[in-house]
């Protein structure tokens, strides 16, 4: 009885088994890389805005407190994007003719809101509250990155769940004294872990990792 399969079938089947593992592995790796790439996460991508607002200038060089514009950060889940009125409280006095600020003046004149592009967005199935984080010693720059160095604002983290859990599992690695929460130039000290453990105890920071804390 003659053989059903040709002799070369052995080689082909071997190659396709090894190839399958290799190709599938490569595909998985590519998908993983895409998922972490700035193209997909928007991490480190400066977003175009109707007015090229510079946090570097306002928060870094001028030293305006975060809460001057983000008024509700200590009271509400939402930090608040400043109403035009807040912009105009200064810019009715300085740079009153700057062409760059025309959309702001137009908004104030015509009573039409400026439509900013959202930089840090969480999916709607995630509950997040700014006020509890800032009142427990989580600094602005811990999540929002070196905001005092951003001429145009970008997203500093991936905002993935693993990114959140990194801190939720080990808050002592990130917590800072409450007085430093709104300091955009804060550098963690060399003894961060030691200080962090102390602050976690002092501020009664809980390591909340239950699903329903955020996915309510």
């Amino acid at each position: 009885m003659s053989q059903i399969f040709h002799h070369s079938t052995n080689l082909i089947s071997r190659l396709s088994i090894y190839g399958g593992v290799f190709i599938l592995g490569l595909l998985g790796f590519a998908l993983y890389e895409i998922e972490l790439s700035p193209w997909y996460t928007d991490q480190n991508v400066a977003r175009e805005q109707p007015v090229p607002f510079s946090h570097k200038h306002h928060a870094g060089e001028l030293g305006i407190d975060c809460r001057y514009c983000h008024t509700s950060v200590e009271k509400s889940s939402f930090a608040g994007v400043p109403p035009t009125q807040i912009c105009m409280s200064c810019h009715s006095q300085i740079w009153t003719n700057a062409a760059m600020l025309e959309p702001v003046r137009a908004s104030y004149r015509d009573d039409k809101s400026i439509s900013w592009t959202r930089v840090n967005a969480l999916p709607d199935f995630v509950y997040f509250d700014h006020s509890i984080h800032v009142s427990k010693g989580v600094g602005c720059t811990t999540c929002h990155g070196p905001i005092a160095e951003m001429p145009i604002t970008w997203r500093a983290g991936t905002l993935y769940m693993s990114w959140c859990l990194e801190c939720h599992r080990q808050p002592e690695k990130y917590v800072r004294p409450k007085s430093e929460v709104f300091n955009p130039n804060y550098e963690p000290p060399s003894n961060q872990l030691e200080l962090g453990r102390k602050l976690v105890k002092q501020y009664k920071v809980q390591s909340l990792t239950n699903c329903t804390v955020c996915h309510r």
Binding site: Y40, D42, P83, S113, I114, P123
Partner: protein, 724 residues
Amino acid sequence: MSSNDKPNIALDLDAARAKLSRDGGERFWQSLGELAETKEYRNFLENEFPANAENNGAGAGINRRDILKLMAASTALAGLSACTKLPTEKIVPYVKPPEEIIPGKPLFYATSMPLAGVATGLLVESNMGRPTKIEGNPDHPGSLGGTDVFTQASVLTLYDPDRSKTVVLEGRISSWGAFLSAMGNVRGQLAPQGTGMRILTEAVTSPTLASQIQSLLKQFPAAKWHQYEPCGRDNEREGTRLAFGKPVNPVYRFDQADVIVSLDSNFLMSGPGHVRHARDFSRRRAIEGPDSTLNRLYVVETMPTSTGAMADHRLPLRAGEIEAFAGQLAAAIGGVNDGSRSAVPPDWTAAVARDLNRRRGKSLVIAGEEQPPSVHALAHAMNAALGNVGQTVYYTETLEASPVNGIESLRDLVNDLQSGQVEFLLILGGNPVYDAPADFDFGPALLKAKLRVHSGLYNDETAELCHWHVPAAHYLEAWGDSRAYDGTIGIIQPLIAPLYDGRSQHEIVAVLSGDAGKSGHDVVRDYWKGQRPEKDKAFETFWETSLHDGVMAKTALPPISVAPRADLAKQSAQPRGGDSSTLEIAFRSDPSAFDGRFANNAWLQELPKPITKLTWDNAAMVSVATAKKLGVTNGDYVTLKLDDPGAKKTREVKAGTWIVPGHADDSVTLHLGYGRRRAGDVGNGTGFNANFIRNSSAPRAHGRGSRARPRQVNLRCGNGLRHT
């Protein structure tokens, strides 16, 4: 929807009975079907809502199992959608932020929702300027922090896309400006007397609106104001007129009562102050210490209600026989000598009377709105005889600025319409074409008015027959005021600007009286500025405080002293009692659609009604014995006929039967509020319109049985009812 191919869940009442007597003792069951445990019922349960599977349009091939498979597959596929980039979002901040708003935090405002004229005080949650959730106002006497289903669901009506959105003239889109100029012409034509001008409103307790209408009537002395409320307080008002010679407002204090007798009154679920009543009542049902005493509740009622379910002793009785029972009870108490006999066992009556007499000054007799005035009068007489007045019940002037009998008021209007005397008719709210008693033939009569204007939330059955239709502002969109059950004034303050082109009743009446352009806020505020003793700065403080609290402090109507007429006994000693050889029909406001105004509210439609658990439907509700006598079972269609000698014709409606254990025998209960034609996409075509066989001579109950002669026609069209 075809009804022929639906399985009929046959009820085996005998099997259910046998089971009950065999099992003995306490046995809990949810429905008669469950009790009987027939094979059909088990199949029905296994298929769980076969009607729904049939209606999903995907054909008969899909069963529950397939749906589960599909759901699992779609859940798995939903994971794939996570592999897309998040869309770019916009943040649109205010230009100038409103006071007190913190983005992300809700604000709460106090307001009031009037229903049939009587207000419940509310605290409404507002998120970034949008009202989202309604709860009771703890400072409001009619609420004390509680609400009912209507107030809870009213926020859905606010956002109902079926609400009317534009001013309409003869079916075409028009504008508020055009309406203003048309009303200017009307004013010119009807001046100076206003002959032929008629205004039809719902029950008005708003002091501002009443004063506006009265000043309009002063401007046009020949004009007339009619009020009609299909599920209002006509019987109660006429009952007090009968008892005291003038209409007054009884205020009940259930927290003071040790023994309560309800004569067909569903005081925990409907009627003025029911939210407060439920609170007061339940407070006396909790043992808080060694000195706590529980109250005792006797309920005599036709249709089982939540109040009946709370009763310590409940007796089902035909609506028409409750009057005889009331007379018997009054005689037993010794208050009024009444010679009537009723079907109630004398020892039952005697026991109730003994209990009442033992708690003189701490007892309460309350009559249901659907009972005729004579029963109300008897209840007042009994309370007076028991020394309850001033203890568990007190009387105030009426809540309505102009208390009239709604049915008679509407009858006057219909007569004027028929004789062609009406030049101009303004209908402010309400839907009389749908809910007027059938013998008024309101629709055709309405057409005889030369110019008809309707204002309402929906372009409904009445709007269809009017020249002008002006969208009404929802109570969450407009300024106003109204009274609670004890007369306390609550300001209605809007939480949002009108979503559509809605106008409040204040604004429309202002147009007619020549104040066009005056905002609802100014109308209400100016009225109170004129009424209050506070001036200037003090008034500002008073106004702000009242808005903040939701109530005007110390505006509850003071108790007045009234005594029942001495000749009441003679009047009510007429022989009474229904003829039990005929069926009687009892009309009730629907627990979820009310008089039909909430028909397009899906939350209320979806809400199972108390006791019957019916949803999206009304039914002819009968007792087990009556169903057996008539040979009908759940879901059978019956035809209910009403002979109308005036029009020389017979009116009829076809209704699905629903057997309600605990219903009075030889009696059929129909809920109003269904069978709407122009309610909107949600409410259209649900149920049947019981108003077709409602007669103006007995609008709430055909107590005598002879007027309504329902004949059952056993059509066996299958399960015509949806049931959860």
